[in-house]
């Protein structure tokens, strides 16, 4: 806006309306337009992604509808596509990884937040965040050459011998299994649980702990019964984040899970997961409906991780709100 100032005292400055192009010559409008374009491109890309997934899965959606999710048979030759074994495998491996990673991660987070001196805590958190940066294919590499032989030669015999009465630990174990995939996933998601839980634990106000200690609780009691419940929604959020990561993990799982589309109660049996089947079969899906069935699997995975991530953010936000409330 150009302001014509009068040389005389008193009168108001006169604002002269300028044409669109004259205004555009002013840097601010240009800057606004440019940055808006770039920001809008994010919307464009994401919308394009969702639309592409939807349109490129139309054939199987039309042919199978909801039966896609309960069908047991994945037979590309007969063009029968049922996703149940993959959904099962994805859920089981993620569940195993959570069962292993949550106690470990929470324990480490409690140590870092409550016990360790600030300096050690910062250093160790740094190391944990480095662990989060390790590429998944490296975990897969270690999975094939360390975890799978370990499961086959040490862990499985031990589990079958001691807990073999449970249907969870039965049958021959070839190393590649739900359990191996769960183990590898657990190592991958622990850093997320540790770092987010540590942050939410640190955010719990001092007076909560001090009040508990003043009333005679031990260090552990104050931590477990006061601090952790206070930060619970944040911790749960970290679990959801970790779960979302585990569900979408591709290469590390496909290298150790056995690639057999089946549903078995035993964790020692080989299985499959949604991301693994997409990675294995995408380049060779000869029929259009085959390719689109894989895209539909991708769509499912996308929706599930979207919901989980959303829930996670809400939960973590709730803890932050908590922090702001008066003691």
């Amino acid at each position: 806006m150009a302001i014509l100032t009068s040389a005389e005292k008193g009168p108001e400055p006169v604002v002269v309306p300028r044409s669109f192009f004259a205004r555009m010559a002013e840097g601010d409008q240009v800057a606004h337009a440019i940055t808006l374009t770039f920001a809008a491109s994010v919307l464009l890309i994401t919308t394009l992604l969702v639309v592409t997934l939807w349109t490129h899965s139309s054939l199987p959606r039309a042919k199978f509808g909801w039966a896609f999710f309960v069908g047991m048979v994945w037979d590309p030759v007969a063009e029968q596509f049922g996703a149940r074994p993959f959904i099962y495998g994805t859920l089981i491996t993620s569940a195993v990884s959570l069962v292993l990673a949550v106690p470990l991660g929470l324990g480490a987070a409690i140590f870092l937040a409550e016990l360790a001196s600030p300096k050690i805590s910062d250093w160790l958190t740094f190391v944990v965040e480095l662990l989060a940066a390790v590429p998944s294919v490296i975990y897969g590499l270690l999975g094939i050459f360390v975890v799978v032989p370990f499961v086959r030669t040490v862990l499985a015999p031990m589990l079958i011998a001691s807990l073999g009465f449970l249907p969870l630990f039965r049958g021959p174990c070839y190393g590649v299994s739900f359990l191996a995939a769960g183990l590898v996933l657990a190592i991958m998601i622990v850093p997320f649980i540790v770092s987010v839980s540590r942050e939410v634990l640190l955010a719990v106000p001092r007076d909560q702990r001090e009040a508990a200690l003043a009333l005679g609780s031990t260090r552990w009691e104050s931590t477990w019964k006061i601090v952790v419940p206070y930060a619970l929604s944040g911790i749960l959020g970290s679990v959801f984040l970790a779960l979302a990561r585990a569900l979408g993990e591709t290469v590390a799982v496909t290298m150790v899970v056995g690639n057999v589309p089946q549903i078995q109660a035993s964790l020692l049996a080989p299985g499959y997961s949604i991301a693994a089947v997409i990675a294995n079969e995408f380049v060779e899906a000869t029929a259009d409906i085959y390719l689109q069935a894989l895209v539909e699997l991708g769509l499912v995975l996308f929706l599930v991780t979207f919901i989980l991530n959303g829930l996670a953010r809400i939960l973590i936000l709730l803890t932050a709100r908590h922090r702001g409330s008066p003691a």
């Binding site: 037979d75 690639n259 380049v283 899906a285």
Partner: protein
């Protein structure tokens, strides 16, 4: 100070771009092919030797399985494909200009196994192999196996079956053979690059199957001969249609193709599993390069033609070292004629 950093980084990025553009020099051709893992050892050798002889031609072949090879050549995302299972009529119908099959070598699929304590060569009847893969025969000391192997102490352990998890020409050859060997297999499972396996673990590529067998005790898998040789895995003899137990090698593979070369169809799609002949190895097969019927790019077309001709003449010299049998003379002659005629 800030301006210097910005300018410096912009210049660095520009230089990085220029350097990495690695623009194709004049005359430089790079072709991309994808497909069968069955002939991968000989293909990678060929493309390496060809590149050494003609440094401006690079043929980048990725072994991702015959199924992927067929798919990608149909989508047009690669310049050529490769498969050991010939394309079906429905698959061919998907392409406008058709896809040409050119046989490259003869190979054989062997039953490879990992039985701790047994290092002898086992004999497998056709019924034994079909039974194992159907899940009817579950232990190594099953009479169907022991009766062909007197004197070998086979353990009572469960057989771990390994098959392909991806769409595979090797699977096609194997299931083709099992369909000939067993009527039950033919009706229950059938022959294809990708089937509904009754049991077993899945490995990706010939590489994956050999790796799984190598790492898993009491397992059995099917791989192309060279994979068993290179990974030093034991492999068995298979009973052919005349009743003899034949070991897979150059002579027996060539014998299997002897009859076929006289009856080779125009489009080169033929199966030689369970071929007649006393010395023929029953699980042999041709493997094909899949060339699009119409190649618009003139340079690529001439490069592919030149390579095919080289492959049929000089290339055949390298096959024996890697355990593949060279193509019969009649087939080579047919192909040389077809190259100029068919590739538009």
């Amino acid at each position: 100070m800030n301006r210097k950093i910005v300018v410096f980084s912009l210049v660095a990025v520009a230089l990085a771009f220029a350097a990495s553009a690695q623009a194709q020099g004049s005359g430089q051709v790079q072709l991309t092919g994808a497909g069968a893992t069955f002939p991968y050892p000989i293909y990678s050798k060929w493309f390496d030797v060809y590149n050494k002889q003609k440094p401006n031609i690079q043929i980048n072949y990725q072994s991702v399985g015959s199924g992927a090879g067929i798919r990608q050549v149909l989508s047009g995302t690669v310049d050529f494909g490769a498969s050991d299972g010939p394309m079906t009529d429905e698959q061919l119908a998907q392409s406008k200009d058709g896809v040409l099959h050119f046989p490259t070598v003869l190979g054989s699929v062997v039953p490879t196994y990992n039985i701790p304590g047994v290092d002898k060569e086992l004999n497998f009847t056709q019924a034994a192999l079909a039974g194992i893969y159907l899940g009817n025969i579950t232990k190594w000391n099953d009479p169907e196996i022991t009766k062909s192997n007197p004197g070998v102490n086979l353990p009572a352990d469960e057989i771990v079956v390994v098959h392909r998890s991806d769409g595979s020409g090797t699977s096609y050859i194997w299931t083709d053979f099992l369909s000939e060997a067993s009527a039950e297999w033919k009706t229950k499972v059938g022959r294809n690059t990708s089937v509904n396996w009754p049991n077993g673990l899945g490995g990706k590529g010939n590489e994956g199957v050999s790796a799984l067998v190598k790492q898993t005790p009491f397992s059995i898998g099917y791989v192309e001969l060279i994979y068993a040789l290179q990974t030093k895995l034991a492999y068995g003899r298979v009973q052919n249609s005349s009743g003899a137990f034949i070991k897979a090698d150059l002579a027996s593979t060539t014998a299997a193709a002897a009859a076929a070369s006289k009856h080779m169809p125009e489009d080169f799609r033929i199966s030689i599993t369970n071929a007649a002949g006393k010395t023929a190895y029953p699980i042999s097969s041709f493997t094909w390069l899949l060339i699009p019927g119409s190649i618009p790019d003139a340079t690529k077309k001439s490069t592919l033609k030149d390579f095919l001709k080289w492959m049929l003449t000089d290339g055949q010299k390298y096959t024996q070292d890697l355990g593949y049998a060279p193509l019969p003379k009649e087939v080579v002659e047919m192909e040389l004629k077809a190259i100029d005629k068919k590739i538009k």
